[in-house]
């Protein structure tokens, strides 16, 4: 009896194995094939990632902006390092109207900003208000190179300005690097109050401030002489200025003749 039961169990087991074998014969190729497809897809994805990464690491296209006309066999631009290895944007003031700004981006800086934000690479110029105030105006320039430069005409004498390089999308702007703020020169005098300082030359030849006072009345600034008596500084400043401007020489700004503000704000 026990033997008969054992034979039956063996038969069932053989039937089960046969069923499994049959199932494997039918499904394994499909599974393997699917696995192979997955592997191919994974390899392709890996290639894509590798290519993308290689692009990230590739040196920027602008190694050195030596004007073509000045290139000589001796002046091999590659003798200078193409990059400093940091994300940076630097702004320099050229004149009351324009700035020169240059930037350099690294693979990690771009990768981080792209992953977080995406969008297109832009050079952003902020025209700033006074210290702490929001930017009064923003100007964006699409750029392609990770290493580049640009002269930007702003036509806003006296304004504070900074530049940034980063990614712009419909979610906003994320900068990779930002310059320090610089102020463009004015095209005329400022509006600070007229102040006079008393300075003397000591025996050691140092010019040293002795006292400072300020008064606001234009071209008539009361002061005190050595004896303490009130003195008065008098000058026909407007005539002096006009005299100077009337003799402007080549090399001075072309619009030097445009008078600036002459407003003075009395300090007390």
């Amino acid at each position: 009896m026990a033997l008969a039961a054992l034979d039956e169990a063996i038969a069932e087991l053989e039937a089960a194995i046969a069923a499994v074998d049959a199932s494997l014969d039918a499904e394994l190729p499909v599974a393997l094939s699917a696995l192979a497809d997955d592997l191919v897809a994974a390899a392709a994805a890996l290639d894509e990632v590798t290519t993308a990464y290689a692009e990230l690491e590739a040196p920027p296209t602008l190694l050195l902006e030596v004007p073509e006309a000045f290139r000589t066999p001796e002046a091999d631009p590659l003798t200078l390092p193409a990059t400093s290895g940091r994300d940076q944007v630097v702004l320099m003031v050229r004149d009351p109207e324009s700035i020169f700004t240059w930037w350099e981006l690294t693979a990690s800086g771009v990768g981080r900003a792209r992953a977080e934000h995406g969008g297109e690479l832009v050079l952003r110029i902020y025209l700033l208000g006074e210290e702490g105030a929001e930017a009064s105006e923003i100007r964006d320039f699409l750029v392609e190179d990770w290493l580049g430069s640009r002269t930007v005409v702003l036509d806003r004498p006296g304004v504070r300005v900074s530049s940034a390089i980063g990614f712009r999308s419909d979610r906003g702007f994320v900068h990779v690097a930002q310059s320090t703020a610089m102020r463009l020169p004015r095209r005329g005098p400022g509006t600070a109050a007229v102040r006079f300082a008393r300075a003397g030359v000591r025996s050691d030849r140092r010019v040293t401030p002795m006292s400072i006072w300020d008064e606001g009345e234009w071209s008539r600034v009361p002061a005190r002489d050595a004896a303490g008596a009130v003195a008065t500084h008098r000058a026909d400043s407007e005539a002096l200025r006009d005299f100077t401007l009337g003799q402007a020489v080549p090399g001075t700004p072309s619009d030097l003749h445009v008078a600036g503000s002459h407003h003075l704000e009395p300090r007390r």
């Binding site: 200078l80 020169p185 071209s219 600034v221 400043s237 100077t244």
Partner: protein, 529 residues
């Protein structure tokens, strides 16, 4: 006997002496190195000659002279001085040949003039022991010259992107070099190209400087309107460093190519030189060994007029014209100061700055003009007097306090002449290099031995690359390849030095030190900011 009346106003003549540091021991004959030899022969020795004559005649005079560190280093360099002596000998030989060649012609008198002139200059050079800087120092100690410095390699500070270390190094190193050459730190500084940005005055004060110069619009566009226009200095708030501004009127009379004195038809024509005019067979030994023509310094013609048919130069007549022009310049300053003093409660100061090399090199008669001007001012009137900035600061205790505006004396008046499509690419490299050096010296604050030498040489290379001359040349389009070569070479050497800081190439370092031996006492920590 009553005291002589105080003058109504003053004229401060400022002569900016500068040449970029050019020294090529690897070449027996180097074209750009000749700039120094020409300047010594045509400007520095003739100026010394004029000042010595004034001194001998008891004529009181005072001029301000900015002497840049590169120029002082070159004027005291043994190799360059030896080469200059050879240059003088060559000039004398050429002049002697010219006397023979021109015998019996209209030009003979001019040839004889050059022969005598080169003999006189050679005698003067030997009399001062070949020490031009020492002679300037002597004139300073006598009170005839107020000598000031300039940024260390004529670096243009507005384009240093606010890098405190880079700007500080240019200023403080210049003061230390000045003390090395003149025995005391300077009172004033000529900012290269008059390049000023608000805030720089603070760095000047840190180095003990008391004044600097700006172009007219620098003062006119100050934070507060200048009460006295450009005819009195401003004191910068906080730093109390004084800013003096250029007077446009007197500048125009000398600088202007159309209306200026140097264009007078009796003056020597700069652009006609026997180095270009005579046959190569004859002039060959006196030009570049490769046959490249150059200016020899012997020029036989006067400007004559707007024509190619130039007439023969008459030195005596030209000298007379220089004297007349000096009298005219004085007359105009008298009239100007008379008018100004009617509108001011103090004696106006007319500041007239010029490149020293204008006098003698470009305007051959310039040193005679300056000498005559000092004589006329002394002998012919009492209304105006020569002065210097320190005398002005000492005389007037009260000064308006305001900060000048960003400005330079270059084309357009700001920074665009040194930052445009021809040269703006250099700033990326200059600014990065300055940052790299600043980071490195902060990392090695107590470097010594060969490591310190590497840092010092790297600083030298960077300073030489920062000279505004290279960007200027790239813009003007003359000898551009040389400017490119110098910029590239110094930056390239800079990085090679710092790349090898851990294991320096001692032989290569020694070679760089021997070649570019400016600033022997350079402390690289100046770049730490």
């Amino acid at each position: 006997m009553s005291e002589p009346a105080a003058p109504t106003g003053h004229v401060a003549l400022v002569l900016h002496h500068h040449l970029p540091y050019i020294r090529h021991p690897e070449h027996a004959f180097h074209l750009e190195e000749r700039w120094l030899y020409e300047a010594i022969t045509e400007t520095y020795l003739p100026l010394i000659e004029a000042w010595r004559r004034l001194e001998a005649d008891g004529v009181p005079f005072c001029f301000t002279a900015s002497m840049t560190p590169p120029l002082c280093n070159m004027l005291t360099d043994e190799l360059l001085c030896t080469r200059y002596r050879n240059h003088l000998e060559t000039l004398q030989k050429l002049a002697a040949l010219e006397v023979q060649r021109t015998a019996g012609t209209e030009a003979e008198g001019v040839a004889r003039f050059y022969q005598q002139r080169f003999a006189d200059l050679t005698a003067l050079y030997h009399r001062i022991g070949g020490d031009v800087v020492g002679e300037y120092r002597r004139l300073m100690e006598k009170g005839h010259l107020e000598i000031i410095t300039c940024t260390a390699t004529h670096g243009f500070l507005p384009l240093m992107a606010g890098d405190r270390g880079a700007m500080k190094a240019q200023i403080e190193l210049a003061c230390r070099e000045h003390a090395r050459f003149f025995g005391r730190r300077p009172d004033g500084i000529w900012l290269a190209e008059c390049g000023y940005v608000p805030g720089i005055d603070g760095l000047l004060a840190e180095s003990g400087l008391k004044y600097f110069f700006v172009d007219s619009h620098g003062l006119l566009h100050a934070d507060a309107p200048p009460v006295y226009g450009v005819y009195a200095p401003l004191l910068c708030p906080g730093s109390h460093v004084a800013a003096f501004a250029r007077d446009p009127e007197s500048s125009k009379q000398v600088w202007s190519s159309k209306e200026g004195y140097p264009g007078d038809f009796d003056y020597r024509e700069y652009y006609r030189d026997i180095g270009w005019d005579l046959d190569l067979d004859y002039i060959g030994p006196f030009i570049h060994p490769d046959g490249i023509r150059l200016n020899t310094g012997l020029k036989y013609h006067r400007i004559t007029g707007p024509t190619d048919q130039k007439r023969i130069y008459d030195p005596q007549k030209a000298r007379q014209r220089a004297d007349e022009h000096a009298a005219n310049f004085m007359f105009n300053r008298q009239a100007q100061i008379r008018w100004l003093s009617g509108h001011m409660d103090r004696a106006p100061v007319v500041v007239s700055p010029y490149d020293a090399e204008l006098f003698g090199h470009w305007w051959f008669e310039g040193p005679w003009f300056l000498e005559s001007l000092a004589r006329h001012i002394h002998a012919d009137q009492t209304e105006i007097a020569l002065t210097t900035p320190m005398r002005v600061l000492a005389a007037n205790e009260e000064h308006q306090e305001s900060r000048p505006g960003f400005s330079s004396w270059g084309g357009e008046g700001y920074a665009s002449f040194w930052c445009n499509e021809t040269n703006d690419w250099i700033y990326r490299y200059l600014i990065d290099a300055a940052r790299r050096l600043g980071d490195t010296v902060r990392k090695y604050p107590k470097s010594e031995g060969i490591q310190r030498r590497v840092l010092a040489q790297a600083a030298r290379e960077l300073l030489l690359a920062q000279a505004s001359d290279w960007a200027f040349i790239m813009k003007t389009g003359t000898t551009v390849e040389y400017a490119l070569m110098r910029t590239r070479e110094h930056l390239s050497a800079f990085h090679r030095l710092l790349d090898g800081l851990a294991e320096p190439d001692a032989a290569w370092l020694a070679a760089r030190e021997a070649h570019w031996c400016i600033f022997p006492d350079l402390d690289p920590q100046l770049f730490a900011g």
